[in-house]
Symmetry: C4
Subunit: 198 residues, 4 copies
């Protein structure tokens, strides 16, 4: 079975998920709270920050997905299912982003919303690590080039290291929802920098 | 006529349908029912279960679609129309999922909602069987390799067997909506297991 | 410029538009109008009919788009813009479908809603005829095979004939919204039949 | 790394964004304001104008994106990130369009809404210029053919010239929201004309 449709389907799901994020940017009803539009837009700043952080994070996951599947030659049932789980965790992100943006400035619920947000990134990162593990350790015969042990370990270590910031961000939600958002934003900026090129 | 665009269009529709499922995960309005966010999220558990069941089911349909079209070399008008009916039944699933999730915990309407949910999967399964039948029996000249009678019958029998659980799930809706959901979930898990590899 | 991305982009827009139709299938709020779910779902029958008619119509437009671009070898700026207009008229269909479905059973507004619905199909059909004209008459040098005069005229006549039912459906809206819907449904069924294979 | 998936992903995001514009065309509730449907649809004219202007503008950006990537042979991390920023600014357009359409006829907020609308196009145009700069100046080794200095300058000058109308449109928002919309519409028409073929 060729990998062409796997890539096409994954690209499709990720492209729709990343674009659906815009539905969380709500247009304030005219005359809302008897305030100016500037005021009403201004108080929605968590939505704009969450939009950018989630957009860049999903974009980077797409880049990584791209890089990981590059070596692959064939796909099998297990790989398709593990990839489906990765897509499932990405598909949930517009909801997690909306939850976070809605509750960031609320006194009640902001800690839980932030934990769900970072927790969704954590799940996605774990599912993506499982995909990497399947490709490198579980079914190396599906790849075009066989990597040596050292290189394989380096990639897997790198991948697991990528999980840590989201663990920290999720734990930090108990302290401050703003800290959680800041860590998620920092991860997105870090991976967008040229130095983090794989 | 090549099958390239048929695959691309089908992948597109399935990718959008699977990702639109997230719109059913609603963010509770702050201060809703004067309850905590944890409580308000917790009572929405049918939405999370329905999301996962529908996501995995659509994902597996995509995998099967992939497997079925692999052998195909050309497409004709009838095939395009039968495939369109498959896509139509998939396109309806975000609505059926939302209906099920909304009514699962309601005393009135839960049986009907569950019947619509399993019935939508049943329809999809039947449409997909019709696509298989067209490919294997109706127009075998469009496939690259001609399967022998025994193999063809085995595939069609397998396909029709796949319809049975959804028949049971739809019938069970008269007894218990939870039982219907459990059967649909079990089907999704069964097909995701490595043993069910085609 | 190759036609690959033109097809990919068109497939994408059509796939999203056809799948967004599901957003018009609304889940009735529990306890709505103090009626049973069966009653509340039953009164939404115009939405189900409109969903199926629009889904099949967009699907057939996709099939025709596919058939028309098959001969093409290259694309130029004018062709991209005319194709964009076709996509614009397709992109509007989820709105027209929703308008029609909302007003079909209303005493006030049903004629206008039906006229907008059939009018949207009419516009789409005209834009698609313009695309055909560009390909066959305006810029035949972009096609792989040059059709003779008789064949070209036959295709264009066929295309313009396809506009007539939508003209009738739009005019009929002044008399009966149901008649308009019936004509649009009949056109969809006609083109889905094997006999209408190009 | 090949450019195939970059194009596929970009096409996907742009196709979803352009099609999501339809969600801004709202169906008036029956009996709204005790007015006829014709009246209720008529007062929503800013939504139809904004839909067409945004649809054509995004379509033209897609055509330009297509033209710019054509020369490219390989992609690297920086290019993927810059392209992601272009997609981010495109992804925001359904929100900016909805904001503009909602406030165009409101006495309060129309200037700000128009500034956000034209400002979003301005951002997109700047991000697209940055992508052009990266391709032509920053990493010319990724392109198949090396352009000479004069041609490169001509393309970049052309690109930057494209930013100016949106600067003017944004500034005009302080005077008249209608003038801003008119300039954005004029830009879309200008680039759609055959004479502006690259």
């Amino acid at each position: 079975m060729s990998k062409g449709r796997l890539e096409a389907f994954s690209d499709g799901v990720i492209a729709v998920a990343i674009t659906l994020l815009v539905l969380d940017l709500v247009v304030p009803a005219p005359g809302l709270h008897h305030q100016t539009l500037a005021h009403n837009l201004g108080r929605e700043w968590p939505r704009y920050v969450a939009y950018v952080v989630s957009f860049v994070t999903i974009g980077i996951i797409w880049i990584n997905h791209h890089a990981v599947l590059r070596r692959l030659e064939e796909v099998d049932h297990t790989l398709l299912i593990v990839n489906l789980l990765v897509l499932l965790t990405i598909g949930v992100l517009p909801f997690a982003t909306s939850l976070m943006a809605t509750y960031l400035n609320e006194s009640a619920g902001q800690h839980l919303a932030a934990a769900v947000y970072a927790g969704a990134f954590l799940l996605m990162s774990l599912a993506f690590s499982a995909l990497n593990w399947q490709l490198l350790v579980g079914r190396p015969h599906l790849s075009a080039e066989r990597l040596d042990e050292a290189r394989r370990r380096a990639i897997l270590r790198r991948r697991l290291t990528g999980v840590i910031p989201y663990l920290i961000a999720t734990a930090l939600a108990a302290v401050s929802a703003y800290a959680t958002l800041a860590v998620c934003a920092a991860v997105a900026v870090f991976y967008a920098l040229p130095a983090s090129e794989p």
